[in-house]
Amino acid sequence: MREITYRQALNEALFEEMERDKNVFLIGEEVAEYNGAYKVSQGLLDKFGPKRVIDTPISENGFAGMSIGAAMVGLRPVVEFMTFSFSLVAFDQIVNNAPNMITMSGGQLHVPVTFRGPNGPAHTLGATHSHATESLFANFPGLKICTPATPRDAKGLLKTAIRDNNPVLVLECELLYSVKGLVEDEGEELLIPLGSAEVKREGSDVTIICYAQTVPMALNAAEELSGMGINAEVLDLRSIRPLDLDAILASVSKTHRVVVAEQDRPVCGIGSEITYQIQHHIFDELDAPILRVAQEDVPMPYNELLEIAVLPNSEKIVNAVKRVCNL
């Protein structure tokens, strides 16, 4: 193991998978000559050349669709959205063509494409540039979605996504790109299965379900809570689709209390789905209503103080936990 950044971890995943399979290529805006708007693709053009690291015009719908087409005939494209806020102009291709092709063709075709890039609010980017898209895409059967929160998960999930034979969205976090963490040494193959949550901190009094940006918040909150005598379990979903229901139910059956910390907007968000699943499967295990800590239900304002007020954070998680624990 060694310490590398989340960005570096993603970069290694791309490197390794492109080395391994010549059908894997990277396409998107500024991924090649600029080495990526957030430098995730640093060095790839130099190593693999312009055939396999392709700069595009600003045409998300077009290159998302082209990648689906290339995947239909055997390539394995990795599409970088500069941010998933820009995936909204490519929405139809991602939700209609990618996941439906296998059904519409009666199983003749499948679409091994990976869509990746930063997702969710970063810092004071305003209403159009702060979208958390996970719940939108989660609505579509045929897609898979993962949301790495650590360098290790970033590397292992992206590698698995690229090898998966279905369309997979790897929703990264801009605010985590420079965060460091322990990752297996370079020689070691690191594959983390899709649909497998991870207990990032064990606990017994309450389960904080989280993913992506909210994982570090939840860990901080758990730290603080332990000072108040509350022993919180932090469950990182890592994947949104498939959802690791077993892990969720196992944890909640132990703690009987749940807070969902999510980076998205609340209405029909990830927390609502998890709430449905928990009460559906283990209603009697719940000792208190499930609380979600999501964004406030408003378009994102630019002003920093207002943005802070809109976003989830450790303090809000602590308060929610206190409420579900009746403190």
């Binding site: 392709i54 390539l75 063509n97 296998i102 199983g107």
Partner: protein
């Protein structure tokens, strides 16, 4: 790839006949409610796909919109598999899961059947990218409607096809209408083909009602694309005889206009040319027509007799299970 030989033209004539008879039968079955959903007939446009596919290699890729029966038949999908698909049966070319708008026959390199207008244009462009990536000399042909050229996805794809120099041919089947909207009411220019200028793309207009002209004009274009790996934009002038879909009475045009167009019928034209040239007799033609009708009728029996897709396989088509090694 010369298509001048007598036999080939007879084959092409039969191809057009089969598409027409098949769809007439489909139309009847739709009215008898054996077929559901939206159903768009290609009748009148047969020369476009029959002529262009005749020029292509069997391993070239084709892809089209929802008016796709003719494209599948021209590519070699059996009438049985097509009719069964319309009936939603397990023996259909998309196992009954796709329906009229989503015909697929990957073995014959027919990649659908796509029902969101112009959404397949980026797909086609990506398929061409893949051919170039793999150093294949395959050509991709993307058929689309005159209404599709006003979608953003069309624009983004054509710009990139030009920029990346991809071996793809976009054929706009200009049948004059997008549903009830005449092409004059959907673009500000006089001619569809002028759209190519905005991308600096090579372009041509071909007479889509004359299969000989289609073949003649399309042959050098395919050769150019295969050799020079640059996209082309083609406007094929044609006309659909039926309504937009089975539920459209097509009151936006006059009976006279329709009858006038039918005078250019691609099947009658080739038939009479061949007879005039002594390459075909009326008897032989009647025989061919009988055969086309029989194949179509038989396909109904096949579809009727075919099983429904099994309910317990409902969840088998959401994710592709086999992992790559």
């Amino acid at each position: 790839m010369g298509k001048e030989a007598k036999n080939d033209e007879i084959d092409i004539l039969f191809q057009m006949l089969l598409i027409r008879r098949f769809e007439e039968r489909a139309s009847q079955q739709y009215q008898q409610q054996k077929i559901g959903g939206f159903c768009h007939l290609y009748i009148g446009q047969e020369a476009v796909v029959s002529g262009t596919v005749a020029v292509l290699r069997p391993d070239d890729y084709i892809i089209t919109a929802y008016r796709d029966h003719g494209h599948a038949l021209a590519r070699g999908t059996s009438a049985d598999a097509c009719m069964a698909e319309l009936f939603g049966k397990a023996t259909g070319c998309s196992k009954g899961l796709g329906g009229s708008m989503h015909f697929f026959d990957v073995k014959n390199h027919m990649y659908g059947g796509h029902a969101i207008v112009a959404s397949h244009v980026p797909l086609a462009t990506g398929m061409a990218l893949a051919s170039k990536y793999k150093d294949e000399d395959r050509v991709t042909v993307c058929y689309l409607g005159d209404g599709a050229i006003n979608q953003g996805s069309f624009h983004e794809a054509l710009n990139m096809a030009g920029l990346f120099e991809l071996p793809v041919i976009y054929i706009v089947e200009n049948n004059q209408f997008a549903m009830g909207t005449h092409v004059k009411r959907s673009i500000p220019m006089d001619k569809i083909v002028d759209r190519a200028k905005g991308y600096g793309m090579k372009s041509a207009v071909i007479d889509g009602m004359d299969v000989r002209a289609v073949i003649k004009d399309f042959t050098p274009i395919v050769e150019d694309v295969r050799k020079n790996k640059q996209p082309w934009f083609i406007e094929a002038e044609t006309y659909r005889y039926r309504g937009h879909s089975m539920s459209d009475p097509a009151t936006y045009r006059t009976r006279e206009e329709l009858e006038k167009r039918k005078e250019q019928d691609p099947i009658s034209k080739l038939q009479s040319d061949l007879i005039k040239e002594g390459k075909l007799t009326q008897e032989k033609f009647d025989e061919m027509d009988k055969k086309a009708k029989k194949i179509s009728l038989d396909s109904v029996a096949f579809a009727e007799a075919s099983p429904q897709p099994p309910l317990d396989e409902l969840y088998n088509y959401t994710y592709y299970a086999e992992e790559t090694k």
